[in-house]
Subunit: 256 residues, 2 copies
Amino acid sequence: MPRHALISLAVPPTLELRWVDDLYYGLEELSAAFGVTIVGGNLATTTGPIVVDVTVLGEVEEDLVVRRTGAREGDRLLVTGTLGAPAAALLAWEARVEIPERDRLLTAHRRPRPRVHEGRVVSQSRWATAMIDLSDGLATDLTRLCDANGLGVRLEADALPVDPGLYQVAHQLRIDALDLALRGGEEYELLVAAPPAHAQALAERIRTEVGTAATVIGEFVPAAQGRAVECQGRRVPLLPTGWDHFRQESTADRSA
Amino acid sequence: MPRHALISLAVPPTLELRWVDDLYYGLEELSAAFGVTIVGGNLATTTGPIVVDVTVLGEVEEDLVVRRTGAREGDRLLVTGTLGAPAAALLAWEARVEIPERDRLLTAHRRPRPRVHEGRVVSQSRWATAMIDLSDGLATDLTRLCDANGLGVRLEADALPVDPGLYQVAHQLRIDALDLALRGGEEYELLVAAPPAHAQALAERIRTEVGTAATVIGEFVPAAQGRAVECQGRRVPLLPTGWDHFRQESTADRSA
Protein backbone atom coordinates (compact mmCIF):
# COMPACT_ATOMS: atom_id res chain seq x y z
CA MET A 1 0.00 0.00 0.00
CA PRO A 2 1.32 3.48 -0.81
CA ARG A 3 2.17 5.48 2.32
CA HIS A 4 4.44 8.44 1.59
CA ALA A 5 5.26 10.59 -1.41
CA LEU A 6 8.03 13.05 -2.29
CA ILE A 7 7.50 15.62 -5.05
CA SER A 8 10.41 17.21 -6.93
CA LEU A 9 9.73 20.02 -9.34
CA ALA A 10 12.01 21.70 -11.86
CA VAL A 11 10.14 24.69 -13.31
CA PRO A 12 10.99 27.70 -15.47
CA PRO A 13 11.51 30.81 -13.28
CA THR A 14 8.76 32.54 -15.28
CA LEU A 15 6.12 29.96 -14.35
CA GLU A 16 3.15 31.37 -12.50
CA LEU A 17 2.92 30.28 -8.86
CA ARG A 18 -0.71 29.43 -9.59
CA TRP A 19 0.43 26.55 -11.80
CA VAL A 20 2.40 25.04 -8.93
CA ASP A 21 -0.54 25.56 -6.56
CA ASP A 22 -2.89 23.80 -8.98
CA LEU A 23 -0.48 20.89 -9.34
CA TYR A 24 -0.34 20.55 -5.56
CA TYR A 25 -4.14 20.65 -5.27
CA GLY A 26 -4.26 17.67 -7.60
CA LEU A 27 -1.47 15.85 -5.78
CA GLU A 28 -3.06 16.48 -2.38
CA GLU A 29 -6.45 15.32 -3.61
CA LEU A 30 -5.08 12.08 -5.01
CA SER A 31 -2.85 11.49 -1.97
CA ALA A 32 -5.76 11.97 0.42
CA ALA A 33 -7.90 9.54 -1.60
CA PHE A 34 -5.29 6.82 -1.12
CA GLY A 35 -4.11 7.63 2.41
CA VAL A 36 -0.75 8.90 1.19
CA THR A 37 1.16 11.68 2.99
CA ILE A 38 3.40 14.03 0.99
CA VAL A 39 6.47 14.16 3.23
CA GLY A 40 9.01 16.10 1.21
CA GLY A 41 10.53 16.93 -2.11
CA ASN A 42 12.38 19.71 -3.80
CA LEU A 43 11.88 22.79 -5.95
CA ALA A 44 14.43 23.89 -8.54
CA THR A 45 14.41 26.08 -11.63
CA THR A 46 15.20 24.97 -15.16
CA THR A 47 15.62 26.76 -18.47
CA GLY A 48 13.76 23.88 -20.07
CA PRO A 49 10.22 22.52 -19.78
CA ILE A 50 8.65 21.57 -16.44
CA VAL A 51 9.91 18.32 -14.89
CA VAL A 52 7.82 16.70 -12.15
CA ASP A 53 9.32 13.74 -10.32
CA VAL A 54 7.16 11.81 -7.88
CA THR A 55 8.57 9.15 -5.54
CA VAL A 56 6.01 7.01 -3.74
CA LEU A 57 6.97 4.70 -0.89
CA GLY A 58 4.72 1.89 0.22
CA GLU A 59 4.52 -1.25 2.26
CA VAL A 60 3.45 -4.78 1.42
CA GLU A 61 3.41 -7.96 3.48
CA GLU A 62 6.41 -10.04 2.46
CA ASP A 63 4.30 -13.03 1.40
CA LEU A 64 2.02 -10.87 -0.77
CA VAL A 65 4.72 -9.36 -2.99
CA VAL A 66 4.07 -9.96 -6.71
CA ARG A 67 7.15 -9.30 -8.85
CA ARG A 68 7.77 -8.91 -12.56
CA THR A 69 9.28 -12.39 -12.55
CA GLY A 70 7.52 -15.63 -11.68
CA ALA A 71 5.30 -16.18 -14.75
CA ARG A 72 5.25 -19.60 -16.40
CA GLU A 73 4.36 -20.98 -19.83
CA GLY A 74 0.61 -21.26 -20.16
CA ASP A 75 -0.10 -18.51 -17.64
CA ARG A 76 -2.86 -16.24 -18.86
CA LEU A 77 -2.45 -12.47 -19.09
CA LEU A 78 -5.12 -10.15 -17.83
CA VAL A 79 -5.32 -6.39 -17.88
CA THR A 80 -7.41 -4.02 -15.79
CA GLY A 81 -9.53 -1.22 -17.28
CA THR A 82 -9.24 -0.22 -20.93
CA LEU A 83 -6.37 0.51 -23.27
CA GLY A 84 -5.52 3.64 -25.22
CA ALA A 85 -7.71 6.31 -23.62
CA PRO A 86 -4.82 8.60 -22.60
CA ALA A 87 -3.10 8.18 -25.96
CA ALA A 88 -6.39 8.90 -27.76
CA ALA A 89 -6.91 11.99 -25.61
CA LEU A 90 -3.48 13.33 -26.49
CA LEU A 91 -3.94 12.66 -30.21
CA ALA A 92 -7.40 14.23 -30.24
CA TRP A 93 -6.13 17.26 -28.37
CA GLU A 94 -3.07 17.71 -30.59
CA ALA A 95 -5.04 17.26 -33.81
CA ARG A 96 -7.99 19.30 -32.47
CA VAL A 97 -10.34 16.47 -33.28
CA GLU A 98 -13.86 16.85 -31.90
CA ILE A 99 -15.31 13.57 -30.67
CA PRO A 100 -18.27 12.83 -28.42
CA GLU A 101 -16.17 11.42 -25.59
CA ARG A 102 -13.51 14.13 -25.63
CA ASP A 103 -13.98 15.19 -22.02
CA ARG A 104 -13.94 11.67 -20.64
CA LEU A 105 -10.75 10.88 -22.56
CA LEU A 106 -9.06 14.06 -21.39
CA THR A 107 -9.92 13.14 -17.80
CA ALA A 108 -8.36 9.72 -18.34
CA HIS A 109 -5.22 11.48 -19.53
CA ARG A 110 -5.12 14.22 -16.92
CA ARG A 111 -6.36 12.37 -13.85
CA PRO A 112 -5.29 8.75 -14.07
CA ARG A 113 -6.44 6.68 -11.08
CA PRO A 114 -3.71 4.46 -9.69
CA ARG A 115 -4.86 0.84 -9.51
CA VAL A 116 -4.04 0.48 -5.83
CA HIS A 117 -7.14 -1.43 -4.75
CA GLU A 118 -7.02 -3.62 -7.86
CA GLY A 119 -3.38 -4.48 -7.13
CA ARG A 120 -4.32 -5.34 -3.57
CA VAL A 121 -7.01 -7.78 -4.76
CA VAL A 122 -4.49 -9.33 -7.15
CA SER A 123 -1.85 -9.89 -4.47
CA GLN A 124 -4.31 -11.11 -1.83
CA SER A 125 -5.70 -13.67 -4.27
CA ARG A 126 -2.23 -15.33 -4.24
CA TRP A 127 -2.98 -16.45 -7.80
CA ALA A 128 -0.84 -13.90 -9.66
CA THR A 129 2.60 -15.12 -10.77
CA ALA A 130 3.87 -11.78 -12.13
CA MET A 131 2.65 -8.20 -12.53
CA ILE A 132 3.65 -4.88 -14.14
CA ASP A 133 1.87 -1.59 -14.65
CA LEU A 134 1.32 -0.03 -18.07
CA SER A 135 3.05 3.33 -18.21
CA ASP A 136 4.80 2.99 -21.57
CA GLY A 137 2.07 1.12 -23.44
CA LEU A 138 1.01 -2.54 -23.47
CA ALA A 139 3.47 -3.56 -26.20
CA THR A 140 6.49 -2.11 -24.37
CA ASP A 141 5.57 -3.24 -20.88
CA LEU A 142 4.49 -6.70 -22.03
CA THR A 143 7.83 -7.04 -23.81
CA ARG A 144 9.51 -6.20 -20.48
CA LEU A 145 7.45 -8.90 -18.77
CA CYS A 146 8.39 -11.43 -21.49
CA ASP A 147 12.08 -10.47 -21.16
CA ALA A 148 11.99 -10.72 -17.37
CA ASN A 149 10.47 -14.21 -17.53
CA GLY A 150 12.22 -15.56 -20.64
CA LEU A 151 8.90 -16.25 -22.32
CA GLY A 152 7.01 -15.61 -25.54
CA VAL A 153 3.44 -14.39 -25.70
CA ARG A 154 0.31 -14.75 -27.79
CA LEU A 155 -2.24 -11.92 -27.54
CA GLU A 156 -5.81 -12.12 -28.85
CA ALA A 157 -6.52 -8.89 -30.74
CA ASP A 158 -10.28 -9.37 -30.35
CA ALA A 159 -9.93 -9.69 -26.59
CA LEU A 160 -8.10 -6.39 -26.04
CA PRO A 161 -10.28 -3.96 -24.03
CA VAL A 162 -9.77 -1.06 -26.41
CA ASP A 163 -11.30 2.17 -25.10
CA PRO A 164 -14.36 3.09 -27.24
CA GLY A 165 -13.14 6.68 -27.47
CA LEU A 166 -9.97 5.47 -29.09
CA TYR A 167 -11.98 4.03 -32.02
CA GLN A 168 -13.59 7.44 -32.51
CA VAL A 169 -10.21 9.19 -32.61
CA ALA A 170 -8.62 6.50 -34.79
CA HIS A 171 -11.53 6.70 -37.25
CA GLN A 172 -11.31 10.49 -37.55
CA LEU A 173 -7.52 10.49 -37.89
CA ARG A 174 -7.53 7.35 -40.09
CA ILE A 175 -5.05 5.50 -37.95
CA ASP A 176 -5.04 1.89 -36.72
CA ALA A 177 -6.98 1.70 -33.45
CA LEU A 178 -5.40 -1.59 -32.41
CA ASP A 179 -1.89 -0.26 -32.98
CA LEU A 180 -2.72 2.74 -30.84
CA ALA A 181 -4.12 0.48 -28.11
CA LEU A 182 -0.91 -1.57 -28.15
CA ARG A 183 1.38 1.46 -28.11
CA GLY A 184 -0.85 3.53 -25.80
CA GLY A 185 0.92 4.51 -22.63
CA GLU A 186 0.10 6.47 -19.47
CA GLU A 187 -2.79 4.09 -18.70
CA TYR A 188 -1.33 2.90 -15.39
CA GLU A 189 -3.43 -0.23 -15.75
CA LEU A 190 -2.15 -3.49 -14.25
CA LEU A 191 -0.98 -6.35 -16.45
CA VAL A 192 -1.13 -9.58 -14.48
CA ALA A 193 -0.07 -13.17 -15.16
CA ALA A 194 -2.03 -16.00 -13.52
CA PRO A 195 -2.34 -19.77 -14.11
CA PRO A 196 -5.09 -20.82 -16.56
CA ALA A 197 -7.17 -22.34 -13.75
CA HIS A 198 -7.40 -19.00 -11.93
CA ALA A 199 -7.12 -16.21 -14.51
CA GLN A 200 -10.85 -15.80 -15.19
CA ALA A 201 -11.66 -16.09 -11.49
CA LEU A 202 -9.09 -13.38 -10.73
CA ALA A 203 -10.56 -11.07 -13.37
CA GLU A 204 -13.99 -11.70 -11.88
CA ARG A 205 -12.75 -11.01 -8.37
CA ILE A 206 -11.29 -7.63 -9.42
CA ARG A 207 -14.61 -6.71 -11.06
CA THR A 208 -16.60 -7.79 -8.02
CA GLU A 209 -14.45 -6.36 -5.28
CA VAL A 210 -13.37 -3.05 -6.85
CA GLY A 211 -15.78 -2.55 -9.74
CA THR A 212 -12.97 -2.28 -12.28
CA ALA A 213 -13.08 -4.25 -15.51
CA ALA A 214 -10.40 -6.92 -15.94
CA THR A 215 -9.94 -8.91 -19.14
CA VAL A 216 -7.95 -11.99 -20.13
CA ILE A 217 -6.07 -10.94 -23.30
CA GLY A 218 -3.65 -13.76 -24.05
CA GLU A 219 -1.17 -16.23 -22.66
CA PHE A 220 2.53 -16.80 -22.16
CA VAL A 221 4.08 -19.32 -24.57
CA PRO A 222 7.57 -20.79 -24.83
CA ALA A 223 10.18 -18.21 -25.89
CA ALA A 224 10.76 -20.16 -29.12
CA GLN A 225 7.22 -19.36 -30.25
CA GLY A 226 7.99 -15.65 -30.18
CA ARG A 227 5.71 -12.75 -29.35
CA ALA A 228 2.70 -12.17 -31.52
CA VAL A 229 -0.86 -10.91 -31.79
CA GLU A 230 -3.53 -13.19 -33.25
CA CYS A 231 -5.76 -11.01 -35.37
CA GLN A 232 -8.53 -12.41 -37.60
CA GLY A 233 -6.64 -15.63 -38.21
CA ARG A 234 -3.32 -13.86 -38.86
CA ARG A 235 -0.31 -13.93 -36.58
CA VAL A 236 1.33 -10.52 -36.39
CA PRO A 237 4.64 -9.89 -34.59
CA LEU A 238 4.39 -7.89 -31.40
CA LEU A 239 7.14 -5.27 -31.22
CA PRO A 240 8.01 -3.18 -28.16
CA THR A 241 6.88 -0.17 -30.19
CA GLY A 242 3.48 -1.63 -31.14
CA TRP A 243 2.94 -3.98 -34.03
CA ASP A 244 3.44 -4.07 -37.74
CA HIS A 245 0.12 -5.25 -39.10
CA PHE A 246 1.41 -5.30 -42.67
CA ARG A 247 3.91 -7.92 -41.74
CA GLN A 248 3.04 -11.61 -41.45
CA GLU A 249 5.28 -13.45 -39.04
CA SER A 250 6.93 -16.71 -40.09
CA THR A 251 7.64 -19.36 -37.47
CA ALA A 252 11.32 -18.45 -37.28
CA ASP A 253 10.66 -14.75 -37.12
CA ARG A 254 10.81 -13.48 -33.56
CA SER A 255 10.47 -9.91 -32.39
CA ALA A 256 13.33 -8.57 -30.26
CA MET B 1 21.84 7.05 8.47
CA PRO B 2 21.16 6.99 4.72
CA ARG B 3 20.06 3.55 3.49
CA HIS B 4 18.39 3.69 0.08
CA ALA B 5 18.42 6.02 -2.91
CA LEU B 6 16.22 6.53 -5.97
CA ILE B 7 17.59 8.31 -9.04
CA SER B 8 15.31 10.02 -11.57
CA LEU B 9 16.79 11.41 -14.76
CA ALA B 10 15.27 13.64 -17.42
CA VAL B 11 17.75 13.88 -20.29
CA PRO B 12 17.73 15.16 -23.87
CA PRO B 13 17.26 12.25 -26.33
CA THR B 14 20.53 13.28 -27.99
CA LEU B 15 22.58 12.80 -24.81
CA GLU B 16 25.35 10.23 -25.13
CA LEU B 17 24.77 7.07 -23.09
CA ARG B 18 28.30 7.51 -21.82
CA TRP B 19 27.20 10.59 -19.87
CA VAL B 20 24.55 8.58 -18.04
CA ASP B 21 27.07 5.79 -17.37
CA ASP B 22 29.54 8.28 -15.91
CA LEU B 23 26.84 9.78 -13.70
CA TYR B 24 25.98 6.33 -12.40
CA TYR B 25 29.64 5.49 -11.72
CA GLY B 26 29.78 8.56 -9.48
CA LEU B 27 26.48 7.74 -7.82
CA GLU B 28 27.51 4.12 -7.21
CA GLU B 29 30.88 5.17 -5.81
CA LEU B 30 29.35 7.62 -3.37
CA SER B 31 26.54 5.21 -2.42
CA ALA B 32 29.02 2.43 -1.70
CA ALA B 33 31.13 4.76 0.46
CA PHE B 34 28.12 5.44 2.68
CA GLY B 35 26.45 2.01 2.63
CA VAL B 36 23.58 3.25 0.48
CA THR B 37 21.78 0.99 -2.02
CA ILE B 38 20.28 2.50 -5.18
CA VAL B 39 16.90 0.76 -5.28
CA GLY B 40 15.05 2.45 -8.12
CA GLY B 41 14.29 5.55 -10.07
CA ASN B 42 13.16 6.61 -13.49
CA LEU B 43 14.46 7.69 -16.88
CA ALA B 44 12.60 10.17 -19.08
CA THR B 45 13.48 12.45 -21.96
CA THR B 46 13.20 16.23 -21.99
CA THR B 47 13.64 18.91 -24.64
CA GLY B 48 15.36 21.01 -21.98
CA PRO B 49 18.57 20.63 -19.98
CA ILE B 50 19.35 17.54 -17.90
CA VAL B 51 17.40 17.20 -14.64
CA VAL B 52 18.71 14.77 -12.01
CA ASP B 53 16.52 14.11 -8.98
CA VAL B 54 17.91 12.06 -6.13
CA THR B 55 15.75 10.80 -3.24
CA VAL B 56 17.63 9.37 -0.27
CA LEU B 57 15.86 7.46 2.50
CA GLY B 58 17.47 6.93 5.86
CA GLU B 59 16.87 5.86 9.42
CA VAL B 60 17.56 7.53 12.73
CA GLU B 61 16.80 6.50 16.31
CA GLU B 62 13.74 8.45 17.46
CA ASP B 63 15.59 10.06 20.38
CA LEU B 64 18.48 11.19 18.17
CA VAL B 65 16.45 13.21 15.67
CA VAL B 66 17.66 16.82 15.36
CA ARG B 67 15.14 19.04 13.59
CA ARG B 68 15.22 22.53 12.12
CA THR B 69 13.26 23.73 15.14
CA GLY B 70 14.38 23.63 18.77
CA ALA B 71 17.00 26.40 18.88
CA ARG B 72 16.85 28.98 21.69
CA GLU B 73 18.14 32.49 22.24
CA GLY B 74 21.81 32.42 23.11
CA ASP B 75 22.45 29.13 21.29
CA ARG B 76 25.68 29.28 19.35
CA LEU B 77 25.83 28.45 15.64
CA LEU B 78 28.55 26.22 14.28
CA VAL B 79 29.26 25.15 10.74
CA THR B 80 31.28 22.21 9.43
CA GLY B 81 34.00 22.54 6.79
CA THR B 82 34.50 25.73 4.82
CA LEU B 83 32.21 28.10 2.97
CA GLY B 84 32.17 29.15 -0.66
CA ALA B 85 34.40 26.59 -2.38
CA PRO B 86 31.71 25.31 -4.80
CA ALA B 87 30.58 28.87 -5.60
CA ALA B 88 34.19 29.92 -6.16
CA ALA B 89 34.76 26.92 -8.42
CA LEU B 90 31.76 27.78 -10.56
CA LEU B 91 32.75 31.45 -10.84
CA ALA B 92 36.37 30.57 -11.70
CA TRP B 93 35.22 28.08 -14.29
CA GLU B 94 32.69 30.43 -15.89
CA ALA B 95 35.12 33.38 -15.95
CA ARG B 96 38.02 31.12 -16.99
CA VAL B 97 40.09 32.43 -14.08
CA GLU B 98 43.31 30.55 -13.43
CA ILE B 99 44.04 30.17 -9.73
CA PRO B 100 46.45 27.84 -7.89
CA GLU B 101 43.70 25.84 -6.21
CA ARG B 102 41.48 25.43 -9.24
CA ASP B 103 41.46 21.64 -9.20
CA ARG B 104 40.70 21.36 -5.50
CA LEU B 105 37.83 23.84 -5.84
CA LEU B 106 36.41 22.03 -8.86
CA THR B 107 36.49 18.79 -6.89
CA ALA B 108 34.59 20.50 -4.06
CA HIS B 109 31.99 21.52 -6.64
CA ARG B 110 31.82 18.26 -8.55
CA ARG B 111 32.21 15.74 -5.76
CA PRO B 112 30.69 17.14 -2.58
CA ARG B 113 31.00 14.75 0.39
CA PRO B 114 27.77 14.44 2.36
CA ARG B 115 28.38 15.17 6.05
CA VAL B 116 26.86 11.89 7.22
CA HIS B 117 29.43 11.02 9.88
CA GLU B 118 29.56 14.62 11.11
CA GLY B 119 25.77 14.66 11.44
CA ARG B 120 25.94 11.41 13.37
CA VAL B 121 28.42 12.90 15.86
CA VAL B 122 26.17 15.94 16.23
CA SER B 123 23.05 13.91 16.98
CA GLN B 124 24.81 11.44 19.27
CA SER B 125 26.23 14.31 21.33
CA ARG B 126 22.63 15.23 22.26
CA TRP B 127 23.81 18.84 22.51
CA ALA B 128 22.41 20.12 19.22
CA THR B 129 19.09 21.97 19.43
CA ALA B 130 18.56 22.46 15.67
CA MET B 131 20.32 21.65 12.41
CA ILE B 132 20.09 22.33 8.65
CA ASP B 133 22.37 21.63 5.72
CA LEU B 134 23.74 24.33 3.44
CA SER B 135 22.56 23.72 -0.08
CA ASP B 136 21.39 27.22 -0.98
CA GLY B 137 24.11 29.18 0.80
CA LEU B 138 24.64 30.15 4.45
CA ALA B 139 22.57 33.35 4.22
CA THR B 140 19.50 31.59 2.77
CA ASP B 141 19.64 28.48 4.95
CA LEU B 142 20.41 30.43 8.13
CA THR B 143 17.41 32.66 7.35
CA ARG B 144 15.32 29.48 7.13
CA LEU B 145 16.64 28.38 10.51
CA CYS B 146 15.83 31.81 12.02
CA ASP B 147 12.32 31.70 10.52
CA ALA B 148 11.72 28.17 11.79
CA ASN B 149 12.73 29.13 15.33
CA GLY B 150 11.38 32.70 15.44
CA LEU B 151 14.83 34.07 16.26
CA GLY B 152 17.31 36.69 15.13
CA VAL B 153 20.99 36.02 14.59
CA ARG B 154 24.35 37.71 14.95
CA LEU B 155 27.17 36.32 12.81
CA GLU B 156 30.86 37.17 13.32
CA ALA B 157 32.34 37.92 9.90
CA ASP B 158 35.88 37.21 11.14
CA ALA B 159 34.83 33.79 12.39
CA LEU B 160 33.41 32.53 9.07
CA PRO B 161 35.51 29.65 7.71
CA VAL B 162 35.84 31.10 4.24
CA ASP B 163 37.56 28.73 1.82
CA PRO B 164 41.05 30.09 0.95
CA GLY B 165 40.42 29.41 -2.74
CA LEU B 166 37.43 31.72 -2.60
CA TYR B 167 39.70 34.64 -1.67
CA GLN B 168 41.84 33.91 -4.73
CA VAL B 169 38.81 33.93 -7.02
CA ALA B 170 37.25 36.99 -5.37
CA HIS B 171 40.56 38.88 -5.68
CA GLN B 172 40.92 38.08 -9.39
CA LEU B 173 37.30 38.91 -10.18
CA ARG B 174 37.25 41.92 -7.79
CA ILE B 175 34.19 40.74 -5.92
CA ASP B 176 33.46 40.62 -2.20
CA ALA B 177 34.76 37.34 -0.77
CA LEU B 178 32.57 37.51 2.32
CA ASP B 179 29.44 38.12 0.28
CA LEU B 180 30.31 35.10 -1.84
CA ALA B 181 30.87 33.02 1.29
CA LEU B 182 27.46 34.05 2.62
CA ARG B 183 25.64 33.42 -0.67
CA GLY B 184 27.72 30.36 -1.58
CA GLY B 185 25.58 27.29 -1.98
CA GLU B 186 26.09 23.62 -2.85
CA GLU B 187 28.43 23.20 0.13
CA TYR B 188 26.25 20.59 1.87
CA GLU B 189 27.93 21.57 5.13
CA LEU B 190 25.96 21.28 8.37
CA LEU B 191 24.82 24.36 10.28
CA VAL B 192 24.15 23.40 13.89
CA ALA B 193 22.73 25.23 16.91
CA ALA B 194 23.96 24.26 20.38
CA PRO B 195 23.83 25.87 23.85
CA PRO B 196 26.81 28.13 24.70
CA ALA B 197 28.13 25.65 27.26
CA HIS B 198 28.50 22.93 24.63
CA ALA B 199 29.07 24.59 21.26
CA GLN B 200 32.88 24.62 21.37
CA ALA B 201 32.97 21.11 22.77
CA LEU B 202 30.71 19.93 19.96
CA ALA B 203 32.95 21.56 17.33
CA GLU B 204 35.95 19.88 18.95
CA ARG B 205 34.21 16.51 19.00
CA ILE B 206 33.44 16.73 15.27
CA ARG B 207 37.09 17.56 14.56
CA THR B 208 38.35 14.73 16.77
CA GLU B 209 35.96 11.99 15.74
CA VAL B 210 35.65 12.67 11.99
CA GLY B 211 38.59 14.95 11.20
CA THR B 212 36.32 17.64 9.76
CA ALA B 213 36.72 21.28 10.78
CA ALA B 214 33.80 22.82 12.68
CA THR B 215 33.65 26.49 13.64
CA VAL B 216 31.45 28.58 15.91
CA ILE B 217 30.33 31.52 13.75
CA GLY B 218 27.69 33.37 15.75
CA GLU B 219 24.68 33.10 18.00
CA PHE B 220 20.91 33.26 17.99
CA VAL B 221 19.47 36.46 19.44
CA PRO B 222 15.90 37.62 20.13
CA ALA B 223 13.91 38.18 16.93
CA ALA B 224 13.63 41.90 17.80
CA GLN B 225 17.40 42.29 17.39
CA GLY B 226 17.16 41.22 13.74
CA ARG B 227 19.63 39.29 11.64
CA ALA B 228 23.03 40.79 11.07
CA VAL B 229 26.72 40.22 10.47
CA GLU B 230 29.26 41.95 12.74
CA CYS B 231 32.12 43.05 10.52
CA GLN B 232 35.00 45.23 11.78
CA GLY B 233 32.79 46.98 14.29
CA ARG B 234 29.94 47.50 11.83
CA ARG B 235 26.59 45.76 11.94
CA VAL B 236 25.45 44.76 8.47
CA PRO B 237 21.99 43.29 7.75
CA LEU B 238 21.95 39.66 6.75
CA LEU B 239 19.61 39.06 3.82
CA PRO B 240 18.52 35.66 2.50
CA THR B 241 20.40 36.55 -0.69
CA GLY B 242 23.69 37.45 1.09
CA TRP B 243 24.37 40.80 2.61
CA ASP B 244 24.47 44.40 1.60
CA HIS B 245 27.78 45.67 2.91
CA PHE B 246 27.09 49.19 1.73
CA ARG B 247 24.14 49.39 4.04
CA GLN B 248 24.41 50.13 7.76
CA GLU B 249 21.56 48.63 9.73
CA SER B 250 19.57 50.80 12.15
CA THR B 251 18.13 49.17 15.26
CA ALA B 252 14.61 49.15 13.80
CA ASP B 253 15.74 47.78 10.46
CA ARG B 254 15.20 44.08 10.23
CA SER B 255 15.88 41.86 7.28
CA ALA B 256 12.92 39.81 6.06
